[in-house]
């Protein structure tokens, strides 16, 4: 059974304090690994898709990387507006998607 574990569950940062979120996964045939951002009461918002180990993608202050067992979401010099829950999901060759429970990020000014 596919499995996704995210850590830490919650992360509190000061504005400008860089850090990383971890997503460990096991999947029977990875078709893609996704990162989403979810604000309270809203649906997840797509950030990145990574397809193979060694791949990296960047968007503003966010950078996602992928290995064969885990993915990292690096946040550089975060701002309060980056506060949200960040979700990781794997999409398998069988066509199913499995989400982690997310990391809730709070950035204090």
């Amino acid at each position: 059974e596919d499995q996704v574990t995210q850590s830490p569950e919650a992360l509190r940062l000061q504005e400008g304090e860089s850090s990383s979120l971890n997503c460990s996964y096991t999947v029977s045939g990875l078709r893609g690994l996704f990162w989403y951002r979810q604000d309270p009461g809203k649906g997840p918002e797509f950030l990145f898709t990574l397809y193979s180990a060694g791949e990296e993608k960047e968007k503003e202050r966010l950078k996602a990387t992928l290995t064969k067992k885990e993915s990292f979401l690096h946040i550089t010099a975060p701002k309060p507006e980056d506060s949200a829950t960040y979700l990781c999901a794997v999409h398998s060759d069988a066509g199913k998607s499995t989400f982690g429970d997310g990391t809730t990020l709070t950035v204090k000014p």
């Binding site: 996704f34 918002e45 797509f46 199913k96 998607s97 989400f99 429970d101 997310g102």
Partner: protein
């Protein structure tokens, strides 16, 4: 360009009743997936519809059923509601099912079972 639209936004039902949730996918998308998200947890995959057929299904009982219409919109039906069915129900659309495309999510329907 409208994104994914879900209705209603909130719903309160009594245990044992039946409920129907609706989803209109993003323009150009042909695949609809449904998820259940309990408070503090990640979305759990219910099923996916493509070409009006259920393509994949997660570990949910038969009380959960769905339908996709020729215009790609979709419904999620839940029978014999239980208190544990209270959750945010998310619809996500994508193009070309099973190709690893990212999903566009709606804002969800908050279902409360009392």
């Amino acid at each position: 360009d409208a994104g994914v639209t879900q209705s209603p936004t909130h719903l309160i039902k009594t245990r044992g009743q039946q409920v129907t949730l609706r989803c209109s996918p993003k323009s150009g998308h042909d695949t609809v997936s449904w998820y259940q998200q309990a408070l503090g947890q990640g979305p759990q995959f219910i099923f996916q519809y493509y070409e009006e057929e259920e393509r994949q299904r997660g570990n949910f009982p038969d009380r959960f059923s769905g339908h996709q219409f020729p215009n790609y919109s979709s419904e999620l039906n839940v029978n014999a509601l239980l208190l544990g069915d209270s959750a945010l129900y998310l619809c996500a659309s994508s193009f070309d099912a099973g190709q690893g495309e990212s999903y566009t999510f709606g804002s969800g329907t908050r279902l409360t079972v009392v």
